[in-house]
């Protein structure tokens, strides 16, 4: 740079804030939020599951942060249990969905033109369908319950990731290093292990984490309308649908806190997803 004393800024670019520090900090906050849910649920054990009829429908207080419900359950403990359930369903469903996406993307890119057309049609079809209706149908077919929700969510959330992975594979396939590798007589198996996997794994991870919020929200919605997790379990959707009966009587805390906590959980995953995206590809990421 030139001598600072002789020059003056023409366009004002003063101190430049490093936005990435904020992104990584948010990622860490998101991860700790999830840790709190897991540890909290273990620590509470049966608290919030066993009824306590001496403390029914109490408003929020220091003893019961989120109040209590009609059975005297502590709503804070119940919400934490519910979030852990959401996490569990989210992890399994999102992982299954990612596996489907990977399978279809590989099918589309390696098994010829017709396979590609078929996968494209499937992606378009699944994206064109109203998600919740499909979820209801699948859950109906399986007779409801936790397993039905997991299958329903897993089966409806793969299209976007399939599309991304397919494009990614096609791009690597035509990259020079792969073509060179093939010309040196390496097998597709070798190329797959040494070139495709290292490129696809970060994409898969980011895709997986970004699937979580959708999976969790859809699970909660499905459970809320009665097609999801069994009414005996403390799922967030169940807590909220139970609260409907008491809202008009002014028991607002039953509806407010479980939902708010769910929003925070989803935001935690968004933050982690953004951080991972940055870490996976620091050169390309703009923020």
């Amino acid at each position: 740079m030139t001598d600072a004393a002789l020059t003056r800024p023409v366009t004002g670019v003063p101190v430049r804030r490093n936005k990435r520090i904020a992104t990584i900090a948010a990622t860490c906050a998101g991860a700790s939020g999830i840790a709190v849910v897991v540890v909290g649920s273990l620590a509470f054990g049966n608290f919030g599951i066993e009824p306590d009829f001496s403390a029914r429908l109490l408003p929020p207080s220091l003893a019961h942060w989120f109040g209590t419900d009609q059975f005297g359950h502590d709503m804070f403990a119940r919400t934490i249990h519910g979030l852990k359930l959401s996490l569990w369903v989210g992890v399994v469903a999102a992982t299954l969905s990612t596996l489907i996406a990977v399978g279809l993307a590989i099918l589309a890119t390696t098994c010829g033109r017709w396979a590609d057309i078929l996968v494209s049609f499937l992606v378009d079809a699944a994206m064109g369908l109203p998600h919740l209706v499909l979820l209801i149908l699948i859950s109906f077919a399986l007779g409801g319950g936790t397993h039905a929700v997991i299958v329903a969510v897993a089966v409806t959330h793969w299209p976007r990731l399939t599309r991304i992975l397919r494009a990614e594979i096609l791009q690597i396939r035509h990259a020079e290093f792969v073509i060179a590798s093939r010309q040196f007589g390496k097998s597709w198996w070798y190329v797959g292990q040494h070139h495709f996997l290292p490129h696809l794994v970060p994409q898969m991870l980011v895709g997986l984490v970004l699937l979580f919020p959708h999976a969790i929200l859809h699970e909660a919605g499905l459970t809320f309308i009665g097609f999801g997790i069994e009414p005996t379990k403390p799922a967030i959707g169940i807590l909220l649908s139970d609260s409907m009966r008491y809202l008009t009587a002014g028991k607002w805390w039953l509806g407010l806190f479980p939902g708010l906590s769910l929003v925070l959980l989803v935001l935690c995953f968004d933050a982690i997803g953004n951080g991972l995206r940055l870490l996976a590809d620091p050169r390309q990421a703009q923020t």
Binding site: L129, P130, V133
Partner: protein
Amino acid sequence: MSSHWPILVATRIVRLAFLLAAVAVVAFTLAKLSPVDPVNAYLGPAIAKVGPEQRELIARKWGLDQPATVQFGKWFHNVLSGDLGTSRTFNAPVADVLAKRVQASLPLMGMAWLLSGILGFTLGVVAGARPDTWTDRIIRTYAYVLASTPTFWLAIVLLVVFSVGLSLTPVCCAAPIGVLPEDVTLLERLHHLILPLIALTVLGVAQITLHTRAKMVEIMQSDFALYARAQGASLADVAVRHGARNAALPAITVLFASLGELFGGSILTEQVFAYPGLGQAAVQAGISGDVPLLLAVALCLTLVVSVGNTIADILYRVVDPRIGAVHDLEARP
């Protein structure tokens, strides 16, 4: 060039027909897989009073004793000839139930769709015109948080605040309870519509806003926007003339493509407000094992959503001058 787009429309329609047929097969298979026995679900508590012979009689009357493929063939044939079957929950032809429900849902969804489009686009343009300013941060945070919010919880919060807390709006339904449908005034209808409408609109806004914002940021950094700045254009000038104009088409595409989400949202919203629309009918059909109604709702929604996607796709190709198909307008004075 202009001869291209009838072909385009034709291929889209063929595709649409394929899609609907595929959905019909999948939906029917799923419904048949269900462990919920339609006869039991129909009888409900009365099940104890009905003997096995009578149950068999009902099953035979509904054609349930035949193989699934035969049942499907019959159902599909009936659907093609316009007969959607009979809803057991509502004891009425499915077509009538659908018509009534659509009538209730249409104003809700239509208005929510339009409003979220207009609001979302405006917010997106404002935020994207000056990225990383406070206005942008506020709008972006708002959209991010909303995108992470379950629709039904938002509806619950609105209900708690406006209906229970402030007593400004009704607690449920599409009209006052105990009033005959023909006596309900327009104002009463609107009064019952407002909260579901807000819940549904606010949800739809998030996606359009984020999408439009991203597009705007990209456009504002594009060569032509920078050149406009170099010509002495103000930021507002560039944002409206180049930004909004170029971002409008993608926004409309997203709006059409978001019809599926809108239906999902309306199912949940209608459930919270006990609003007797299409979504609520779908939930009731599912819970009581009313297969003909459930299938009809699924087909009906698939049709609307796919038509929306098809319109978006065609619109994109027809309006963008670079893709062609508008060259016949060239002669315009």
